[in-house]
Every structure is written in structure tokens, then in C-alpha cells.
């Protein structure tokens, strides 16, 4: 087991190296002089010179990369050109909001997906099973931004039950916080509920019908994609409900041509994903005795 873990962790080093290359090389996709493009509307030569200095754009690319990685490793993700604040502190401000949304989404997904999966497996072939499968298909086929817009139309405009946008922090007022996050959390959780339902169903069927051993081939999506769905889904959901989280940070950064922020967000999401995957692998080993040997 230690052997496996050691190998697993060693493999992370080249993966992280390539992640860093990937994110670093983004800025070289910019057409023309990157310093000029990064400066955007700003035409002040002093500012452009400062950008050139900050990114060492006048130095060879490997040198630029070296300094960039050195900065990242010491917690310096660069400076937001628009907000004039360190990228890391911006991320630190926005991440908790997205975390709250993601946790609520996972709770909602579990509350819907697991019972639906169990019922459809136990009553395989019945109307319940049929309904649950339709729900799963609906869940993975609905674009979450459209679902968000439709929920706003129904619950905010037509019924007037929930605010259409405007996030209230949990620390200020928990009721208002809940009202402002329940719809986006449902939108995020919906697709994950569908994945969970299919997983639960096939896992249950495996146990229930031992002579009909079906391989637990998840239809189309593995459990890892839950994390990716959450992270990707947050971008659009936060945009629609104007929630000042991680996803809104990257979209705003894209439009402000705040490239350091875009890079920082991609780097942090990739790191979160890699870390959660490692935890999932360790959990598998701990839970499955056959792997522990």
C-alpha cells in the first residue's frame, strides 16, 4: 500500500510540472507583444514597462518560466492589473463563497441522487426505474445556465419567492444567505445528482444481481467528473446569479484582460482537483481491503 501511495505521489510531480507549463504558456498565446496586450487600454509607457519587468518579458522564456514558478511556489501568483491586488488574496476572498455553493450542491445531489438510484435499482424495470432514468438523462442534458435562467424566471419573476441575484454572506444573515444560494446550489447539484443516481443504480444492481454481474460502467461519467462538473459549473452558475465567487472571478478577469488572475484561477482549480483525486485514491485503498495488501 505504501508502495502504491509512494508511486502515486511521485507521479504527481511530472503532472504538476506539465500543469505549470500549460498555464505558463497561456500568456504566450496572446497575439503580438504580451506586455502591450496585458496593458489593455493603458497606453502609459511606464505601465507597459512595469508589466515587462514584472513578467520579465524581455528575458528568455525558460528564465521567465523559472521566475514564474519560483513566485508561485512562494505564494506569489502575481498582481491583478485591474484590481491592483495580489492574485492569491483575491482567490482567498472568493473561494469560500464557491466552497459554500459547492457543499450545498453536493448535499442536494446526495439527497436526490442516492435515493433515486436505490429506488430504480430495487424496482428495476418499473415505472420508478424509468422515471429515475429519465431524471438522470434530463440532469446530464440540461445546460446549467439555461436551468438557472428558467429557475429565476419561475421563482423570482413569476412567483417572487427568491431573489434573482445578489449574494448575502453567511456571516451577515443566514436566512438571506440561504435564499440567495439555494437556486444556484440546486443548479450545480442537479447534474451531479444525475451522475450519482446512475452510479448508485449500477452499484446496487451489481450487488442485487450477482449472477448478472454487470461491470460498473458508469454511463458516460466517472465519479471524478463530479469535481470537474462542480468547478466548471460554478463558473456559469455564479455568472447567472451574480454570486461573487471563484467562477465569477475568472469570468470578470477574462473580460478585464486580467491574465494573471486567469492563470491563478486555473492553477488553483487544477491543484484542488489533483489534491481531491489523491484523497479519493487514498480513501479507496482504506475502504477496499483487497487493495490494502
Amino acid at each position: 500500500m505504501l508502495n502504491f501511495l509512494g508511486k502515486r505521489i511521485l507521479q504527481l510531480i511530472p503532472t504538476l510540472f506539465f500543469v505549470s507549463i500549460l498555464i505558463f504558456s497561456l500568456q504566450h498565446l496572446l497575439p503580438g507583444d504580451p506586455a502591450l496586450v496585458m496593458a489593455g487600454e493603458e497606453r502609459d509607457p511606464a505601465v507597459i514597462e512595469q508589466i515587462r519587468q514584472q513578467y520579465r518579458l524581455d528575458r528568455p522564456i525558460p528564465v521567465q518560466y523559472f521566475y514564474w514558478v519560483k513566485g508561485v511556489l512562494s505564494g506569489d501568483f502575481g498582481e491583478s492589473l485591474r484590481v491592483k491586488a495580489p492574485v492569491l488574496s483575491l482567490i482567498g476572498q472568493k473561494l469560500p463563497v464557491t466552497m459554500q455553493l459547492a457543499s450545498m450542491a453536493i448535499v442536494i445531489a446526495f439527497l436526490i441522487g442516492i435515493p433515486a438510484g436505490i429506488i430504480s435499482a430495487v424496482k428495476k424495470g418499473s415505472a420508478w426505474d424509468y422515471g429515475a432514468n429519465l431524471f438522470a438523462l434530463w440532469g446530464i442534458s440540461t445546460p446549467n445556465f439555461w436551468l438557472g435562467i428558467m429557475l429565476i424566471f419561475l421563482f423570482s419573476i413569476e412567483l417572487g419567492w427568491l431573489p434573482a441575484s445578489g449574494f448575502v454572506p453567511l456571516s451577515e444573515n443566514w436566512r438571506a444567505n440561504l435564499a440567495s444560494t439555494i437556486m444556484p446550489a440546486f443548479v450545480l447539484g442537479n447534474a451531479i445528482a444525475a451522475i450519482l443516481m446512475r452510479h448508485t443504480r449500477s452499484a446496487m444492481l451489481q450487488v442485487l444481481e450477482s449472477d448478472y454481474v454487470r461491470t460498473a460502467r458508469a454511463k458516460g461519467l466517472s465519479e471524478r467528473s463530479v469535481i470537474l462538473k462542480l468547478l466548471s459549473g460554478a463558473v456559469l452558475t455564479e455568472q447567472i446569479f451574480s454570486i461573487p465567487g471563484f467562477g465569477k472571478l475568472i469570468v470578470d478577469a477574462v473580460f478585464n484582460r486580467d491574465y494573471a488572475v486567469v492563470q491563478g484561477v486555473v492553477l488553483v482549480t487544477a491543484t484542488i482537483y489533483i489534491a481531491l483525486n489523491l484523497i479519493a485514491d487514498i480513501a479507496y485503498i482504506l475502504v477496499n481491503p483487497r487493495l490494502r495488501a
Binding site: 511530472p14 445556465f145 439555461w146 419573476i157 454511463k219 466548471s232 477574462v254 482549480t269
Partner: protein, 296 residues
């Protein structure tokens, strides 16, 4: 069939025998109602997209100040938008952007992903380790976030959105191809091909690739569904199709501002995305079951 017929047309018989797996898969696919409905819907949308100029009732980009945000009526079945444009015509033209972008981006992903996957799975060793770690690195960046970042750095346009979605979808195909190759390459027929002295590239292209096509076909169908959502998402954020050209995503973006008094602007483009994606998922699921040799 009589013995005489067998000896008279041996070549045709062999042809039939070779064709049977694909035919059997098609027969099984057509037995699934969901997949058949999905196929019909997709073909309908493709026809609408191809013949858009012939079928649209109005010019999709012609604005009219007297027709701003009119609800659905006999003249404008889906209503009109904030600039007085016909929503139905825009939805039909939007199918062009959506289908074209998703097909091209999955084409990009296949043409990069499959060769690297073949190389990785067949050669093994250092090349395999290198390609696998790069794939891991790309998979670690969430699909949409990577596509957004790429589109942001490349600049907003439908072409760049296709490239961004294609690159983001590539690692899935590398990994799938690699895994398939590794399970197929120990089969007897590959061993036989090797024993006969076929060069490696020949074995990879003519003995391994045809046998992993079913898995690639299923994944490609599901990836097109994901690419349609990704294109709509990028266009929704303003990183895909640029105005005034219609696309489902950008129509939804505009619709969000007029939800109170013109909800039909949001309903139809979203429904179009949903119906196409649902159909592709139905066909993908159906194909998977139809091509699965374990299921009879």
C-alpha cells in the same frame, strides 16, 4: 441459401460476414426507441442547419424597431427579440454555429487525441509515461475553465472557441485510445499480425485502430454533446460566436436581461440546446449498448 449459391458468390458472402458486426450494431441500435428518436432529432437539426437559408421565415439578423420583443404569434412563432429579430430564424441559424462548432472541435480532439493515444498505448515505456503525464495535467484543468482560459488568451471568436473546446476535449481521447490499445494489443490477432512481420505502424493502423473504433464512436458522440454545451457556454459568456451572428448561447445571454417582459427569448434557444444534447446522449448510450459485445 443453397450450396450452389455459396460456391457461386463466395466473395459476396465474405463481404457479408465482414460487415456483420457493424450491421448487427446498427440493428441493435435501431431496436432502442430512445436512440432512434435521438437520431431522428439530430438528423432534423442537421437538415435545418444545412438548409437554414431556405427554411427560415425571416432574415435572422434583420432588426426592426416596430417588432421589438413581440410575444409568439402566427407571424413569429417563437416571438421576436430585443432588436425585433425573429427568434425562430435565429434558433435555426444558431443550429449552424452549434453543430459546426461541436463537430469541428471534436474533430480536432480526435485528430490529436487518437494518434497520441495509439503511440502511448502501443509503444509504452518513456513515451507512454510522458504522454500520460501531459494528459493527466490537461485533465486536471476543468474542461470549461480550460476552454474559457484558452478562448480568453486566443481572443473571442467562434473559430477560437472551437480550438479551445477541441484542445480541452483532447485528453479524454488520448486516455481512452491508450486504454483500448493496451487491452487490444495482447489479443491473438495482433500477435498473429506481429508474427507475420507487419511493421508497427501497420499493426497500429490496420489491426488495432479498427478494433477500438466502437469505443471511440461512443465517446465522440458523448463529446459532441459536451461540446455543444461548451460552445453555448462560451458564447453565453461572449467568448464564442460574436454578434450579430446568432448562436444559442449568445441568444440566452441577451435573453437574461429581458426575462421579466420577454421570457420567450430565453425559452427557445435553451430548449434547442437541451433537445440536441439529450438526443446525442440517447444515441451515445444506445451506441454503447449496441456495440457492447457483452450485451446480447
Amino acid at each position: 441459401m443453397t450450396d450452389a449459391a455459396l460456391t457461386a458468390f463466395p466473395a459476396a458472402d465474405i463481404d457479408e460476414a465482414l460487415e456483420s458486426p457493424a450491421r448487427r450494431a446498427l440493428r441493435r441500435l435501431l431496436k432502442r426507441k430512445g436512440a432512434v428518436v435521438g437520431l431522428i432529432v439530430i438528423v432534423t437539426f442537421i437538415l435545418l442547419a444545412v438548409f437554414a437559408p431556405l427554411v427560415v421565415p425571416y432574415d435572422p439578423i434583420a432588426t426592426s424597431w416596430t417588432l421589438v420583443r413581440k410575444p409568439p404569434s402566427a407571424q413569429h412563432w417563437f416571438g421576436t427579440d430585443d432588436l425585433g429579430r425573429d427568434v425562430l430564424s435565429r434558433v435555426i441559424y444558431g443550429a449552424r454555429a452549434s453543430l459546426l462548432a461541436s463537430a469541428i472541435s471534436v474533430g480536432i480532439a480526435l485528430s490529436i487525441g487518437v494518434p497520441f493515444g495509439l503511440l502511448s498505448g502501443y509503444r509504452g515505456g518513456f513515451i507512454d509515461a510522458l504522454i500520460s503525464r501531459i494528459t493527466d495535467a490537461m485533465l486536471a484543468c476543468p474542461f470549461l475553465i480550460l476552454a474559457i482560459a484558452l478562448a480568453a488568451f486566443l481572443g473571442p471568436s467562434l473559430g477560437n472557441a472551437m480550438i479551445a473546446i477541441g484542445i480541452s476535449a483532447t485528453p479524454v481521447f488520448v486516455r481512452l485510445t491508450r486504454g483500448q490499445v493496451m487491452s487490444v494489443k495482447v489479443e491473438d490477432y495482433v500477435e498473429a499480425a506481429r508474427a507475420m512481420g507487419n511493421p508497427r505502424w501497420r499493426i497500429a493502423l490496420f489491426h488495432i485502430l479498427p478494433n477500438i473504433m466502437p469505443a471511440l464512436l461512443v465517446q465522440a458522440t458523448l463529446s459532441i454533446a459536451a461540446a455543444i454545451i461548451a460552445e453555448a457556454a462560451l458564447s453565453f459568456l461572449g467568448l464564442g460566436q460574436q454578434p450579430p451572428a446568432p448562436s444559442w448561447g449568445s441568444m440566452l445571454n441577451a435573453a437574461q436581461r429581458f426575462l421579466t417582459n420577454a421570457p420567450w427569448m430565453a425559452i427557445w434557444p435553451g430548449l434547442a440546446i437541451f433537445v440536441v444534447v439529450l438526443s446525442l446522449n440517447l444515441v451515445g448510450d444506445g451506441l454503447r449498448d449496441a456495440l457492447d459485445p457483452r450485451e446480447r
